[in-house]
């Protein structure tokens, strides 16, 4: 039995309604408890800001395309290098760091749980191998179904139960956590070099539309009682005028779950553009947030961009090719048979580019115009909008109008005509920051029940203690102190153990991978279905028996079982 007592912590724990109380936190064997014995180890939090461990609900850190981003970018590897030191391995890279680089930087920023935004089922084993080399965060994998042939056939047959059964088999086989749709239908069209232009376009050869895929998968998701909702990267990413597609998509979503949203729309900044070309692009964050404010069934994340170099990587292959035609920089593409696509290109977001300035403003507008902070979470679609090490700056911007104004003054003049960022006065408080960086993520991912994102007795003892005294700092004016404070915790505690201290990781780490296993009645199990098996016999290049990810890849896996309603 190991016990730890954190004294004098200034706690914000939104899911339990705690707002800045100075209190002690007792921990036993990795979980929060009511009290510990007198001989427990003690950490003095000295009144510092103490939050549940940070959760990133959409980040690209592990798997085939992330690693290819590293592989093709020695220039970035040179941009961030640290030597082996203490318990820390060598790290390389700034915007696509090595797995240890990601893990250490997240940990020193107080993040203890990360969801990988896109895992192709066929290549899931790779994602899990990298999860094991990302030792300081509990990991979860969004699993791609956007161009899945069996799913599209079930959608065409209007057979929701069959779609649900396919999802169940796939998630449990590849140890996935949630349904991810990236440009649904568009990735299949990209198999022929094409794309779709809206949610009513038919997918070539499959006679279904993105709208049908999205609605069927939403229903299937709820039949399976998955912890998370469908996680959607909308069609038409990055195209001027795409806000109309996004609004049309939001209009499809019923309110089916009383505990959480029914749709998680990711990196909405990239989907909130007005105008018709790059010349007249403008913000439609007002329209998007008006829709979200009226629809509690939708949660989104910002997809904030920050200025500087980074790498775009997504399963949205056609979008990356369009970006390549725009930038003429190096371009990689990797389509995955019967399932999905992907593409990678490096980008530079420049303050001289009006388009980039508009993008920057839209992300902030989305967060500031969404009334309920649980409905717009902080993320950059790491590394697409910016590497996650920029999160503290984003927190600073959301907490300080003055900081935003100072930044705006350095941007392209056109930003005032194209966006409303300068007219927004809202400044977030500590509690709202706690929501958009952990509590909201825990609720949206459905893992609060697993003890994530809050500090009630029974919760996992994942905590971040930041060297910020909330009473002494005025975020509106002293935003630099806020940014610095969120860059480096005084202590990061994972399952009751101090894992990072003042910017150094001090343990090897032993993370957990969460995955879901919905129980399906035998008669619906697609593993016994000749049509489904035929996909492996004839079209996949991997045998069905070699497809599932073996337990050995999840040495500390935690399975979340659900009972399906089919």
């Amino acid at each position: 039995m190991t016990e730890l007592l954190i004294r004098n912590a200034c706690v914000f724990d939104p899911l339990n309604g705690i707002r800045g109380d100075v209190m002690d936190i007792a921990i036993r064997d990795g979980r929060i408890v009511e009290s510990v014995q007198n001989n427990a180890d003690v950490i003095d939090a000295s009144g510092f800001l103490t939050l549940p461990g940070g959760i990133d609900s959409h980040s690209h850190v592990c798997g085939t395309k992330v690693n290819f981003g590293r592989y093709m970018s020695p220039e970035d590897m040179r941009a961030g290098r640290t030597a082996r030191r203490g318990k820390m391995h060598v790290t390389s890279g700034y915007y696509v760091p090595t797995t240890y680089g990601n893990s250490y930087r997240y940990s020193t920023m107080g993040y203890t749980t990360v969801l990988e935004g896109a895992m192709a089922p066929l290549e899931a084993r790779h994602t899990h191998e990298e999860f094991n080399a990302t030792p300081l965060q509990d990991m979860l994998a969004n699993t791609l179904f956007d161009g899945n042939w069996s799913i599209m056939e079930a959608v065409h047959a209007q057979d929701v139960k069959r779609a649900a059964a396919i999802v169940a088999w796939t998630l449990s086989s590849v140890r996935g956590f949630a349904i991810k749709l990236t440009n649904p239908g568009g990735t299949e069209a990209w198999g022929w070099g094409g794309d779709l232009t809206g949610i009513r376009d038919p997918v070539p050869n499959f006679n279904v539309t993105p709208a049908e895929i999205i609605t069927t998968m939403i229903e299937a998701n709820e039949l399976l009682h998955l912890p998370h909702s469908v996680h959607l990267h909308c069609n038409n990413l990055g195209k001027p005028g795409n806000y109309a597609t996004t609004l049309e998509t939001f209009g499809l979503v019923p309110d089916l779950n009383k505990n959480r949203q029914t749709l998680y729309a990711t990196h909405v900044q990239f989907h909130a553009y007005g105008g018709s070309t790059w010349r007249d692009i403008c913000s439609k964050a007002d329209e998007i947030t008006k829709s979200v404010n009226a629809k509690p069934q939708i949660v989104m994340d910002m997809g904030q961009i920050m200025f500087g170099r980074t790498m775009t990587m997504t399963a949205d292959g056609p979008m990356e090719f369009n970006l390549y035609c725009l930038h003429h920089n190096k371009w990689s593409n990797h389509d995955v048979e019967l399932e999905t696509g992907s593409g990678i290109i490096p980008v530079l977001y420049s303050k001289k580019s009006l388009v980039n300035c508009v993008m920057w403003a839209i992300g902030l507008e989305l967060a500031l115009l969404t009334k309920n902070p649980y409905q717009c979470l902080l993320a950059t679609d790491n590394p697409n909008g910016a590497p996650f090490v920029k999160y503290p700056e984003i927190i600073g911007l959301l907490m300080s109008k003055r900081y935003r104004d100072e930044e705006c003054a350095t941007l392209h003049d056109g930003i005032d005509q194209r966006t409303s960022i300068s007219s927004i006065d809202r400044e977030m408080d500590w509690n709202e920051i706690a929501i958009i960086t952990r509590a909201g993520q825990a609720r949206a991912l459905g893992i609060a029940a697993q003890g994530k994102g809050h500090l009630a007795p029974g919760a996992e003892a994942d905590l971040a203690i930041y060297p910020i005294r909330c009473d002494d700092v005025d975020p509106a004016t002293e935003y630099r102190k806020v940014v610095e404070g969120f860059q480096k915790t005084r202590f990061t505690i994972k399952r009751g153990r101090v894992v990072a201290r003042d910017g150094d990781v001090i343990v090897d780490g032993a993370n957990t991978t969460f995955w879901v296993n919905p129980t399906i009645p035998d008669e619906h199990n697609v593993a016994n279905d000749p049509e489904f098996v035929k996909k492996f016999e004839e079209y996949y290049t991997v045998r069905m028996s070699n497809y599932p990810v073996q337990d050995v890849y999840l040495p500390r896996g935690r399975c979340i079982k659900t009972e399906a309603d089919i």
């Binding site: 592990c62 085939t64 690693n67 290819f68 590293r70 592989y71 093709m72 970018s73 020695p74 970035d76 590897m77 290098r81 640290t82 030597a83 082996r84 391995h89 060598v90 390389s92 890279g93 760091p97 090595t98 797995t99 240890y100 680089g101 066929l122 290549e123 084993r125 790779h126 191998e129 990298e130 080399a133 042939w149 198999g191 022929w192 070099g193 050869n205 090719f321 390549y324 035609c325 190096k330 371009w331 990689s332 593409n333 990797h334 389509d335 995955v336 048979e337 019967l338 990678i344 290109i345 004839e538 079209y539 996949y540 290049t541 991997v542 045998r543 028996s545 070699n546 073996q550």
Partner: protein, 429 residues
Amino acid sequence: MLIKDVVCPFCGCLCDDLDVEVENGRIIRVDNACTLGSKTMVGDDRLKAPIRRDGKGWIETTYDAAIEEAAQILLDADRPLLYGWSRTHGEAQGIGVHLAELIGGVVDNTSTVCHGPSILAIQEVGHPGCTLGQVKNRADLIIYWGCNPIDAHPRHMSRYTTYATGFFVKDAHRDRKVIVVDTRRNESADVATEFVQVEPGGDYAVLSALRAIVRGRGDVVPPSVSGVSREQLVRVAEMCKNAKFGAIFFGLGLTMTAGKNKNVRNAIELTDELNRHTKFIISPMRGHGNVYGTNEVFTWITGYPYAVDFSRGIAFYNPGETTAIDILRRGECDACLVVASDPAAHFPKPCVEHLARIPVVQIDPHPNATTHICRLQIPGSVAGIDAAGTAYRMDGVPIRLKAIIETGVPNDTEILQRLYNRVREAKGE
């Protein structure tokens, strides 16, 4: 006992549909494999125990003693090189990289003498690719450039390309065209719709000519380019543009001939160009079963796919300087650990001569050319036969190699972990 869906560990195709019959702990029959694969699985001749030179000849030794001696050799070295890795599973490769990190050594894999130039090209211009099933289900045009799959990847054509029936390619023979480009007429050319014979060293010019034609500037192309007529080039370019889905596969004929990485870059940029007309992909024909796995594992740990030098404390990468060939040729390294490869059979003579002068430890179950120049050889089990672990197919698909027989021989992961632990302990950590 019949074991189904066994993965062949031999080449980058990683065929996973073998039927293997095992009797009394031995493999007695293999179905579905090519001759290379069958030979890998049966008739496997191995060392029975670690061996070391005692000045007169070889003597057997124990694993404990061998690991101790290997640790001392690495600890005594100022510039150790840890080379090979492509025939073992990813878990062992990972420990190898961390061992190099621990001792400040150089770690390199066999890409350095095969598709290293492809990696350099990809680092310049990227890589439009896909998994092999995309090609099988969709491609109506296949180009093999500077490679001979019939000899080197014998099931590539039947599983993934020329003869593979796919969802959108019901009659592979009729629906699919094949172009072979090479300096000589090889066996693969015999099954091609079109054979393009390039003069040795002429690939770069031919690729440039094709790019010009695809861009609509055929007028600048002379009547003959490196032995290929303009007429044929125009025909090939039209075949590419008219394809619904084209796939270029290339081998060492492009990477290791004059132009090297620039050839590959040109081929990738031709592919980029073709994507403005139709769907096109390009993919290297990776040789060793898990050579792509070495690139993946090296990359997620160090950031670089090969040729990583830890002597500065950080991971440093500069192919041409930190590549195994260059370090050996400069006579720079003073000890070498060879794992799951055979540099003495493949490296240039001056490199092998240097290897013969320094202490070399080899972890490999088979007596090979490197055996003749090493001081100590430690046999591990074979990934895919008596050791399980991860391998990455040439297109990046990760597959689990199975242990289909039990031999009691420690696997490479166990041997390397013990070696790592011993070195770490000796360094007082």
